[in-house]
C-alpha cells in the first residue's frame, strides 16, 4: 500500500477542500478536481573535476480544474489560503454555461494507493550533499582513467521529492509520495583536432543505494567515456533507405515517438492523429506486441496513481500487430467512451492534465539477437539515441542515433556518426520482421515533452530488425 498523505501537509482542511470543490462543481460541470503539490528538487553538478554547482528549489501550489463537455477550465495558485482556493475555483468554473448554483459534492473518502512501487524512505531520498559530491568526484576519476583522450567530464545528480494530493468531485481524496532521481554523465574526447561527445546515465524512483549497487555510477562514467572515444573513429553515416537493427533498451524511443504519441486519446478524440480510426486494424507486423505499463517497480515512468488519482495499469496498445487501445485520462476516456487507463499526467500543479505515456515497450520475441544482425547484408545497427520527435497528424517521426554501427555482410563493423532515422508511425512497425528474446528497459533517463509540459517516462525494446527505413546521413549512394 502507498502512504496516506495527511491534508494538513498542505495546510488545508477537509472543509476547505469540500468548499472549493462545491464552488467549482456547478451544474454544467461534469467533473472537477483539486491537485495539491509540494516539491523539493536538488541538483549538484560537476565539470572540470570540480563539483561547483548546487541548487535547491522548493515549490508548492494547487491547480483547480473543471471540465464541462469538451471544455476545461483551469487555474492555479502558489498560495494555499482559502481565498486563493475560492479565486481559483471561480476561474475554473468560468467555462460552465451557467456558472451559478454550486452543487454539493460527496465527502471524499480519504484513501491511499493500492500499491507502493517506490517505497523509498525519506531519509534515502534525501541524499546528503557530501555524498553527492563524493559520487561525482569518483565519476570524474573513472571517466578520465578510461582513456587519456577524455578531456572533460560533466556530471550531474538530480533528485526530486514530490508529494501530491488529488481531491475530486467524484469523491476521491488520494495522495502519493513520488521520489525521482537521475545521474547523468557526459564526456568530451579529443584527439588532434577531432572532438566528440558521449553521454550515459540512469535513474528512477529509487534511493541513493541504487547508484552504488554493482558500482552502477562507475559504469555510467565508463559508458559515457567509451561512447565519446568510439565516436572519435566514427565514419560518415549512409544516406538512403536501408535495413536497420535496433538494439535493446533506450532505442525503444522509436515506439514512444512512432506509435505512443499517436495513441494518446486526446489526439484521437480530436481525430488529428494518424492513428485515428485505426482501432482493431493492423498497424504492425504480427511479431510486435506493445504495452504501456505504469506499474513497474522503481521505474522512472512508473506511478502508484496518475495525477487524477487513478491507479496506473498495464495497457495493451498493439497486440500481435493489431491496434488494441489508446491511453487515456478521465476527460478523454469519458468523451470517447473507452476505458480509463491511468495515464492522466501533468508536469506540476501549474499544468493541465493530458494523457501521457508511462513506460512504453515491446514485449520480447523469439529471435536470437545475433541471428538478427547476421540477417542483414548492408545496414545500420543503432544501439543508442539522442532525442526524437513526431508530427502526430501525418505520423512522420525522426530520431537521432548517438551510437550506431554499420552492418556489413552480417557483421557489426565501423561506428558511424549521428545518423537520423525518419519514418512514418503507422507504417514503420509493419516493417519489423524479427524481434529478439532480449527485452531490455532503458536506464531511466527519459523525459517526454508535450504541449510544453515535461514528464519522466520509460521505454524498452528487444533487439529488432526493421527491413527498411530512411537514414539521413551525408553519404549518398
Amino acid at each position: 500500500m502507498g502512504q496516506l498523505i495527511p491534508l494538513d501537509s498542505f495546510g488545508v482542511t477537509e472543509h476547505d477542500v469540500l468548499e472549493a470543490l462545491g464552488r467549482v462543481k456547478v451544474r454544467d460541470v461534469d467533473y472537477a478536481d483539486l491537485y495539491f503539490e509540494s516539491c523539493v528538487s536538488e541538483s549538484v553538478s560537476m565539470e572540470e573535476s570540480l563539483v561547483k554547482r548546487a541548487t535547491k528549489s522548493i515549490s508548492q501550489g494547487v491547480g483547480v480544474r473543471a471540465t464541462a463537455g469538451e471544455k476545461t477550465g483551469f487555474a492555479y495558485s502558489d498560495d494555499l489560503t482559502r481565498h486563493d482556493l475560492e479565486l481559483a475555483a471561480d476561474t475554473a468554473r468560468y467555462i460552465a454555461n451557467s456558472p451559478g448554483g454550486s452543487q454539493p459534492v460527496p465527502v471524499p473518502v480519504h484513501s491511499r494507493p493500492a500499491r507502493d512501487l517506490y517505497p523509498v524512505p525519506h531519509a534515502q531520498a534525501d541524499v546528503a550533499t557530501a555524498d553527492r559530491v563524493t559520487l561525482l568526484n569518483l565519476i570524474d576519476a573513472e571517466a578520465r582513467r578510461y582513456d587519456p583522450r577524455i578531456k572533460n567530464v560533466m556530471a550531474s545528480f538530480n533528485t526530486e521529492y514530490k508529494i501530491v494530493m488529488v481531491a475530486t468531485s467524484d469523491g476521491t481524496l488520494i495522495g502519493d509520495v513520488q521520489p525521482l532521481s537521475r545521474l547523468q554523465v557526459t564526456c568530451i574526447a579529443e584527439d588532434g583536432g577531432n572532438r566528440q561527445i558521449g553521454s550515459f546515465g540512469g535513474g528512477g524512483r529509487i534511493g541513493f543505494d541504487f547508484y552504488r549497487q554493482g558500482d552502477r555510477y562507475l559504469n555510467y562514467a565508463k559508458e559515457a567515456a567509451r561512447i565519446a572515444i568510439l565516436n572519435l573513429s566514427a565514419v560518415e553515416a549512409p544516406a538512403g533507405v536501408i535495413p536497420v537493427v535496433l538494439g535493446g533498451g533506450w532505442p525503444g524511443i522509436l515506439l514512444h515517438e512512432a506509435i505512443g504519441h499517436g495513441l494518446e486519446a486526446d489526439f484521437n478524440r480530436k481525430k488529428t492523429s494518424a492513428f485515428s480510426n485505426l482501432l482493431g486494424k493492423r498497424v504492425a507486423s504480427d511479431v510486435c506486441t506493445i504495452v504501456d505499463d505504469g506499474t513497474l517497480p522503481g521505474r522512472r515512468g512508473s506511478l502508484n496513481m496518475d495525477d487524477e488519482g487513478t491507479a496506473t495499469a498495464r495497457t495493451m496498445l498493439i497486440e500481435k500487430g493489431m491496434l488494441r487501445g489508446y491511453i487515456t485520462d478521465k476527460l478523454n476516456a469519458r468523451l470517447l467512451g473507452i476505458p480509463l487507463t491511468g495515464n492522466g499526467r501533468r508536469e506540476s500543479y501549474q499544468s493541465i492534465v493530458l494523457p501521457r505515456m508511462t513506460n512504453t515497450f515491446m514485449l520480447a520475441g523469439e529471435s536470437n539477437p545475433e541471428d538478427i544482425i547476421k540477417s542483414v547484408k548492408r545496414g545500420l545497427y543503432a544501439v543508442s539515441f539522442g532525442g526524437g520527435q513526431v508530427d502526430i497528424t501525418n505520423g512522420k517521426f525522426v530520431f537521432s542515433a548517438s551510437e550506431a554501427y554499420l552492418i556489413e555482410d552480417g557483421k557489426v563493423t565501423k561506428p558511424v556518426k549521428g545518423a537520423t532515422l525518419i519514418g512514418s508511425g503507422p507504417e514503420i512497425l509493419t516493417k519489423v520482421s524479427m524481434v529478439g528474446h532480449d527485452l531490455k528497459l532503458d536506464e531511466g533517463i527519459g523525459t517526454c515533452g508535450k504541449e510544453g509540459q515535461s514528464v519522466p517516462v520509460g521505454v524498452g525494446l528487444p533487439t529488432i530488425r526493421i527491413d527498411e527505413i530512411t537514414v539521413g546521413g551525408t553519404q549518398a549512394g
Binding site: 487555474a75 468560468y94 551525408t474
Partner: protein, 462 residues
C-alpha cells in the same frame, strides 16, 4: 515566468514591495555568512484560452511569484528558489543555501560581476502594455482566427485549435553590491493550428501560424493569422518522399531562424569553455561570406528579447556577433567570460532558481536585398524547407542531420510538397556555404532570420 489574475483586482503587492523583499533577503544572506549574494524576484499573471472548432476547449488563468537566490561564501556558491515568501520560509531557504554553498568546492572563477560593471541607466525599452484583455475578448480573438482558417479552404476540416495567451510580469534583480533593478514586460500571442484532409487519399496534414508581440495593438489580425495558417496547412497535402541526392536548400524564415538558433547555441560561452561547441577558438576567423552580419541587440525597443539589464545586472547592449562574415563576439556572462579570458557581453540570462547562464536577447541576421521568391527562382533543382523536426545536431562537431518537410523546387518554381526526408551537413560548412540572404526579416521571437539559401546539402529520402 508567467502568472495570472483577474483584471481589476489588486492582489499583487504595491510597487516597491518586491524590491524591498530582495533587499531583506540580501540582508538575511549577509547575516548567515554570505560574502556576496544576488536575488531575483519575478511575479506576474497569465491568461490563456484555447478554442477548438468554434468552442472553448481550455481556459487557464494563473498568478505566480518566485524568488531565486544565489549565495557566495568566499569562492563557493549555491543557488535556490522558492514560491513561499513568508519570512520564516525565506530565512530557512537562506540558511540552507549557505549550507549548500559550504558543501561544494571552491571555484576560483566564481563571484558577482564587479560593482563598476553594473547598469547605471535603466532605459524604458517599451516592453510593457497596460492593455488587459478580459476572458471573453480573448475567446473572441481566438475564435475569429480559427474561423478564418476553417473558412479559407474546404479541405480544412479539422483543427488542433487556436490559442490566445496574454501575460504580464515583473522582474526585480538585486545584489550585495547595492544594485537594484526592475522592469515590467507583457506579451500577447495568437496561434492557429488547422488540420487539412486530402480529399483523394484521406491523409491528414497539420501546420500552424502565429504572431507574438509585446504590444497588443501591434499583433497581426486574427484573420491574417488564420488565413496564413490555412495556407501553410493546405499546401502540404499530397506530400511525398524524394530520392537521395545533394542539392541546394532554401530555408524559409522559420527554419532559417532555427539555423540561426544553432549559431546562437554555438557562440554561448558555456558551450565554448566546456569544449562543447564547434566554434571554439574561432573568434576573429571567417565563418560565412563577407555580407553575412549577425547582431544580438538587447535594447531593441519593444523587442521580445529586450531588457534593460541582464541576469547579473549588467547593462544590455548591441553586440556584433558576426561582422561581415567574421566571428567577432561570443555571448557571455561574467562566469563564462572569465573562463575564456573575456569580459561579459551582457548576455547573462537568469531563470529564477538557476545560476546565470547565457542567452540571446534579440539575435538576428541582417537582411539582404532579394525577396524569398527571387531566391527560389534562382534554384534549378532543390529543396525549400519549411519544417524541421528532431534533434539531430551535434554541437561539438557541428554535424547536422534533421527531419525536414517542405517543397521541391524545379526550374525556379515550387512544384510539390515533400516529407519524410532528412537534410544533412555540417553547420560550419553550411554557414560558409550560404549563398543568398533574403530581405524578409521579421521578429516573431528572440531569434530571427530572413529566408536563406545554402549551396548544397545531402537530402535523404527514397
Amino acid at each position: 515566468m508567467s502568472q495570472t489574475r483577474e483584471s481589476g483586482q489588486s492582489v499583487q503587492p504595491a510597487n516597491g514591495h518586491l524590491a524591498q523583499l530582495a533587499s531583506d533577503v540580501l540582508a538575511m544572506a549577509k547575516q548567515h555568512g554570505a560574502t556576496e549574494a544576488d536575488v531575483v524576484v519575478a511575479d506576474g499573471e497569465n491568461l490563456s484560452v484555447q478554442i477548438r472548432l468554434g468552442s472553448v476547449d481550455r481556459l487557464s488563468k494563473a498568478r505566480e511569484k518566485r524568488l531565486g537566490l544565489r549565495i557566495f561564501v568566499g569562492k563557493r556558491s549555491a543557488t535556490s528558489s522558492t514560491s513561499d515568501f513568508s519570512s520564516e520560509s525565506l530565512r530557512r531557504l537562506v540558511s540552507e543555501t549557505c549550507t549548500l554553498a559550504k558543501a561544494v568546492v571552491e571555484d576560483p572563477v566564481s563571484g558577482l560581476p564587479g560593482a563598476d560593471q553594473l547598469a547605471t541607466d535603466q532605459p524604458d525599452l517599451d516592453l510593457h502594455d497596460e492593455t488587459r484583455l478580459d476572458t471573453d475578448r480573448q475567446i473572441d480573438l481566438a475564435k475569429r482566427a480559427e474561423a478564418a482558417a476553417l473558412a479559407s479552404d474546404e479541405r480544412i476540416t479539422n483543427s488542433e485549435g487556436a490559442d490566445f495567451d496574454s501575460s504580464w510580469g515583473r522582474v526585480v534583480l538585486g545584489n550585495s553590491h547595492g544594485f537594484i533593478g526592475e522592469y515590467r514586460s507583457s506579451s500577447y500571442s495568437l496561434a492557429v493550428s488547422p488540420v487539412a484532409v486530402d480529399p483523394v487519399s484521406g491523409s491528414m496534414q497539420r501546420d500552424a501560424w502565429y504572431d507574438v508581440r509585446r504590444k497588443f495593438h501591434t499583433l497581426d489580425t486574427p484573420e491574417a493569422i488564420g488565413r496564413e495558417a490555412a495556407k501553410r496547412t493546405v499546401r502540404r497535402l499530397g506530400a511525398r518522399k524524394v530520392g537521395t541526392k545533394r542539392v541546394p536548400v532554401v530555408f524559409d524564415q522559420e527554419t532559417a531562424g532555427s539555423l540561426l538558433g544553432n549559431l546562437c547555441s554555438a557562440v554561448s560561452g558555456y558551450a565554448l569553455y566546456k569544449g562543447a561547441s564547434f566554434l571554439g577558438g574561432q573568434l576573429g576567423k571567417r565563418l560565412a561570406p563577407d555580407w553575412f552580419t549577425v547582431y544580438d541587440d538587447g535594447r531593441m525597443v519593444g523587442g521580445l528579447g529586450s531588457r534593460p539589464f541582464d541576469g547579473e545586472g549588467l547593462p544590455t547592449r548591441k553586440n556584433t556577433v558576426v561582422d561581415k562574415g567574421v566571428l567577432t563576439s561570443y555571448l557571455l556572462d561574467t562566469y563564462s567570460g572569465k573562463k575564456l579570458g573575456l569580459p561579459s557581453s551582457g548576455n547573462a540570462s537568469r531563470s529564477v532558481g538557476e545560476s546565470p547562464s547565457v542567452g540571446p536577447t534579440n539575435f538576428y541576421l541582417t537582411p539582404g536585398t532579394c525577396s524569398a521568391e527571387d531566391i527560389i527562382r534562382g534554384v534549378k533543382d532543390g529543396l525549400y524547407v519549411t519544417e524541421l523536426i528532431g534533434f539531430g545536431i551535434n554541437m561539438v562537431t557541428g554535424d547536422y542531420s534533421r527531419g525536414a518537410g517542405g517543397f521541391w523546387i524545379e526550374n525556379g518554381e515550387l512544384t510539390y510538397p515533400v516529407e519524410e526526408i532528412t537534410i544533412a551537413g555540417n553547420l560550419k560548412q553550411m554557414f560558409s556555404d550560404i549563398e543568398v540572404v533574403g530581405s524578409d526579416l521579421v521578429f516573431r521571437g528572440r531569434i530571427a532570420s530572413p529566408t536563406l539559401k545554402i549551396a548544397e546539402m545531402t537530402v535523404a529520402g527514397n
